[in-house]
């Protein structure tokens, strides 16, 4: 984006800062707009003007890039997140910036009313400037929405990795879907906490429902096994399909002495054995002993 020549705008604004502030606040408080509490609006508008004149004084190019605009960007992010939290829409928040246009344009017209060329040029400059600033608030809104979604996804992840008690002292963690680094970490923490809470000796991590495993995930699983061992419990990884076995070997991941079984049933059998338990079939009446 080409640099905006803001020298003359700077003069207009800095010479009439107080009047501009008053007129702007009046615009913000006008009926038809959603009422910003006047005290807040005034304080933020004042800060905005201060930062605006600062940045303009340094003539440092466009609001999107120049380092001189960093404090302004920070202010707009604050304004955005406050309004966003208070339930204002992105448009309503952007209006905070755009409603400055009217008082500013009025001043510019008065300053350049004898010079149509300059008038047009400055109005164009002013509108480009304020458009960029207004859009920054919209972007900030977007960012905080994304943050909320991310956090909700995290919560969902936690809920979608249930740890079940298979038997006395035996826990099972069926994993379904693609595993990414973050999810595997949450799984690890949930499993270890369950081991501590239930006093289980064996935890079976079943990956039947996992289509692929990459190096990072394999390492996380190994770390889970190591951590469980430090706590005094043993982990068995079950549901290892041929493709995954191939991937693990190709990736050069060293499983060490981690027990792996093809099926959950096999893993369960081992778990029973290790915990000194067994399931007996009752003898049918009349059958030979």
């Amino acid at each position: 984006m080409a640099d905006i020549n803001t020298n003359r705008i700077f003069e207009v604004i800095s010479q009439h800062e107080n009047e501009l502030l008053d007129e702007w606040v009046a615009e913000l408080a006008a009926p038809g707009g959603r009422g910003f509490p006047v005290a807040d609006a005034r304080a933020q508008a004042k800060e905005f003007l201060g930062l605006l004149t600062d940045a303009l004084r340094r003539g440092d190019g466009a609001p999107n890039g120049g380092p001189a605009w960093a404090p302004m960007r920070a202010l707009l992010e604050t304004v955005s997140s406050e309004r966003g939290t208070a339930g204002f829409t992105p448009s309503e928040t952007a209006t905070f910036v755009f409603s400055f246009k009217k008082p500013l344009f009025a001043r510019i017209r008065r300053a350049f009313d004898k010079d149509p060329e300059a008038l047009f040029s400055e109005l164009w400059t002013a509108t480009r400037l304020l458009d960029q600033l207004g859009l920054l608030t919209t972007e900030a809104h977007q960012k905080s929405r994304d943050e909320i979604i991310r956090r909700q996804q995290e919560d969902m992840l936690e809920l979608s990795t249930p740890v079940v008690k298979l038997w006395d002292g035996v826990l099972a963690l069926p994993m379904i879907g693609t595993l990414d680094s973050q999810r595997t970490q949450i799984v690890m923490e949930t499993l270890l906490q369950s081991i501590a809470d239930t006093g289980a000796q064996i935890a079976i991590v079943d990956i039947t429902g996992v289509p692929t495993v990459d190096t990072l995930v394999a390492q996380h699983l190994l770390k889970t096994v190591s951590a469980a061992r430090l706590m005094g419990a043993e982990c068995i990884i079950s549901g290892v399909r041929p493709q995954i076995a191939q991937t693990i070997v190709h990736l050069g991941v060293n499983l060490g002495d981690v027990i792996t079984k093809a099926t959950l049933a096999d893993a369960f059998r081992v778990a029973l054995q290790r915990t000194g338990q067994s399931i007996t079939r009752p003898v049918a009446a009349g059958a030979q002993p």
């Binding site: 920070a74 992010e77 997140s81 923490e189």
Partner: protein
């Protein structure tokens, strides 16, 4: 940025104080229990290094707040002999003379950001940061 807190590391009990202070900072910004534990453990390792290899020094704790994102930063500084071979020291399993592991490589894995400046004869400065 909150005002930094500086702790002296001259004795064994000072290591415990550093741990407690880092724990308090981590709790105040709402770090999860696991992240707290990682940060405090890393701080413990580095504080011990400062004491035993650096001949004593300081730990400076800061609470960070950048664009709404909170974090904890601890800087360990000493005027000790410095580390001649940084690469070696950061390698896993490295043990300096005296049989005491320096714990640098491991500590690095426990935090989000890890910076180290050290020169033989001029001391060492290690900065660790954990973000929420």
């Amino acid at each position: 940025m909150s005002s930094p807190e500086t702790l002296e590391i001259r004795t064994e009990p000072d290591i415990v104080s550093v741990r407690q202070a880092v724990r308090a900072c981590s709790v105040s910004i709402g770090l999860s229990l696991i992240d707290q534990t990682k940060m405090v453990t890393a701080a413990s390792e580095l504080a011990r290094n400062t004491l035993q290899h650096g001949g004593g020094g300081q730990a400076r704790l800061e609470i960070l707040d950048e664009r709404g994102r909170k974090g904890v930063r601890v800087t360990f500084e000493d005027r000790g002999p410095g580390i001649a071979n940084l690469e070696l020291a950061l390698r896993d399993g490295y043990t300096s003379a005296g049989g005491l592991g320096m714990g640098l490589g491991g500590s690095r894995r426990l935090v989000n950001q890890f910076e180290i400046h050290s020169e033989a004869g001029h001391g060492t400065r290690v900065t660790i940061t954990r973000w929420k």
